[in-house]
């Protein structure tokens, strides 16, 4: 993907006058790392870029600190922020708009069809000692990696982030300008979920026990999630206190069940929770389980339509009732 169109569009947008800044990606000076970039004037525009290394969602930054970014530098005026949005991000953004967390006219969206991004942990393991900045591009199922003055061709499935393997929405569902060409959509694949569904109750318990016993409750999964934008998280409240602060299997289990259930019918599938987890918990399994069952039980798919009532704020008189006495 070339960045020329992105930079040209960014320049146009910045000239409009109603946009306080652009949130985009920039390549770090070290290795494969990519950081969010906050462009406020022309000086930084050339740093904007997109590549398969852009493995973080920027939607989060719209709602951090009650959307400070939106107010910044433009007090009192109705401000707009422009941001780069991949397919999954657009679903998250759409959901926030549906929930009235943001208004559509507060954002200007650079839509980016995305073929999946690279898992930083995987690529850093494959190329551990990179000096300076490394580049990656994608071509025909291979990643073309340039680092330490050498080029490497790596099959895509070796490096792609796990959450992207299941992606069914590579193309943005809302945007103001679409950069790059749309991508052919895959069929959903829930084999990973079915594998766990097929375990016995005891096996599932053992599997998750192992996982949750590792959690240190750093709350990165929550903070990185674009849809966790409450000012005051119910899981941290002291009165009433739903979850104790102590870190043990039971509290961790409850934390993760409550967290994932709050995203039932909302989760955009971006995989941020899993990406940021320092102890590598497979958190997307929980989210995808809910996604799969929402489809099966209620024929509900997040982001299917732009205006859609939230899953758990609606019902159908024919909803399943096999668990009711």
């Amino acid at each position: 993907m070339d960045n020329e169109k992105l930079i040209a569009e960014a320049k146009t947008v910045l000239l409009r006058g109603d946009i306080v800044g652009i949130i985009g990606y920039q390549k770090d000076s070290q290795g494969f790392r990519v950081s969010p970039l906050f462009v406020r004037d022309e000086r930084d525009i050339e740093k904007l870029f997109f590549s398969p290394l852009c493995w973080l969602s920027l939607v989060n930054y719209l709602t951090l600190e009650k959307g400070r970014l939106l107010q910044k530098g433009n007090p009192g005026k109705k401000a707009k922020v422009a941001l780069m949005v991949r397919g999954c991000d657009s679903k998250a953004l759409n959901q926030i708009i549906i929930e009235r967390g943001l208004s559509r006219d507060e954002v200007y969206v650079f839509g980016i069809p995305c073929n999946g991004v690279i898992d930083l942990k995987k690529i850093e393991k494959m190329f551990p000692d990179v000096q300076g900045s490394a580049q990656v591009s994608e071509n025909n199922g291979f990643y073309h990696v340039r680092c330490n003055g050498k080029s490497h061709e790596v099959p895509k499935e070796e490096l792609i982030a796990d959450s992207c393997k299941h992606c069914v929405s590579p193309n943005p569902i809302l945007y103001d300008v679409l950069l790059y060409t749309p991508i052919v959509v895959k069929q959903p694949d829930y084999r990973d979920i079915e594998e766990i569904d097929n375990m016995s109750i005891a096996e599932k318990w053992e599997f998750w026990r192992e996982q949750f016993s590792m959690c240190v409750r750093c709350y990165a999964c929550r903070n990185a999630c674009p849809l966790c934008y409450c000012d005051d998280c119910i899981l941290e409240r002291l009165s009433p206190q739903w979850i104790y602060r102590s870190v043990n299997m039971s509290e961790n289990l409850i934390f993760h069940l409550a967290r994932s259930f709050h995203h039932a019918g909302r989760c955009a599938g971006c995989g941020e929770c899993e990406r940021v987890c320092p102890v590598n918990l497979p958190l997307m399994l929980l989210n995808r389980k809910l996604e799969k069952d929402s489809k099966e039980l209620f024929h509900y798919t997040v982001g299917e339509k732009a205006e859609q009532k939230p899953l758990l704020a609606t019902f159908n008189p024919q909803d399943p009732d096999d668990f009711i006495f």
């Binding site: 766990i196 569904d197 109750i201 005891a202 096996e203 599932k204 318990w205 053992e206 599997f207 998750w208 026990r209 119910i234 739903w242 102590s246 043990n248 299997m249 039971s250 509290e251 289990l253 409850i254 069940l257 409550a258 994932s260 259930f261 039932a264 399994l285 929980l286 389980k289 809910l290 069952d293 929402s294 039980l297 209620f298 899953l311 758990l312 704020a313 609606t314 019902f315 159908n316 008189p317 909803d319 399943p320 009732d321 668990f323 009711i324 006495f325």
Partner: protein, 138 residues
């Protein structure tokens, strides 16, 4: 007195139907096992999954959520919303290895004292089979 091995069930009953149904069960002397602790809520529609999880964490082996029959909710549709939420939440519980049978729902009207006692009996039997959940341990 409950023995330590007896299952404990927390029943969240809606104010308008099931709580009255439970009351009727009591005044009509319909017997049901003493394993249930009743918590009255205004409507099953207010049942946040955190209430269920809290009950489990504090030692419940099973949770029953009981409200008005479909179409009879005092708030029109609270029980429908609860049903959808609980249906999905049970799937999540099962997925992490908590038997979904530990979370059940029932429709019990104010006149169904008999049904309430039957529900508690059945639920207690089932939970007895499943054994303790053990989430009050660390």
């Amino acid at each position: 007195m409950l023995k330590k091995t007896d299952p404990e069930i927390v029943a969240f009953l809606c104010n308008w139907c099931s709580y009255a149904g439970a009351d009727l069960a009591g005044t009509s002397h319909f017997h049901y096992p003493p394993n249930v602790k009743v918590i009255r809520v205004m409507c099953t529609g207010r049942m946040n999954p955190l209430l269920t999880l809290s009950a489990f964490r504090h030692g419940a082996d099973g949770v029953l959520i009981s409200g008005c029959h479909p179409g009879e909710c005092h708030y029109m549709e609270g029980n429908y919303l609860a049903r959808r939420r609980i249906a999905l939440f049970r799937k999540l519980l099962g997925f992490v290895g908590i038997n979904p049978e530990r979370l059940r729902m029932s429709w019990v009207s104010a006149s169904e004292g008999n049904k309430f006692s039957r529900v508690i009996k059945e639920m207690t039997e089932k939970i007895k089979q499943l054994g303790p959940l053990g989430l009050e341990e660390e």
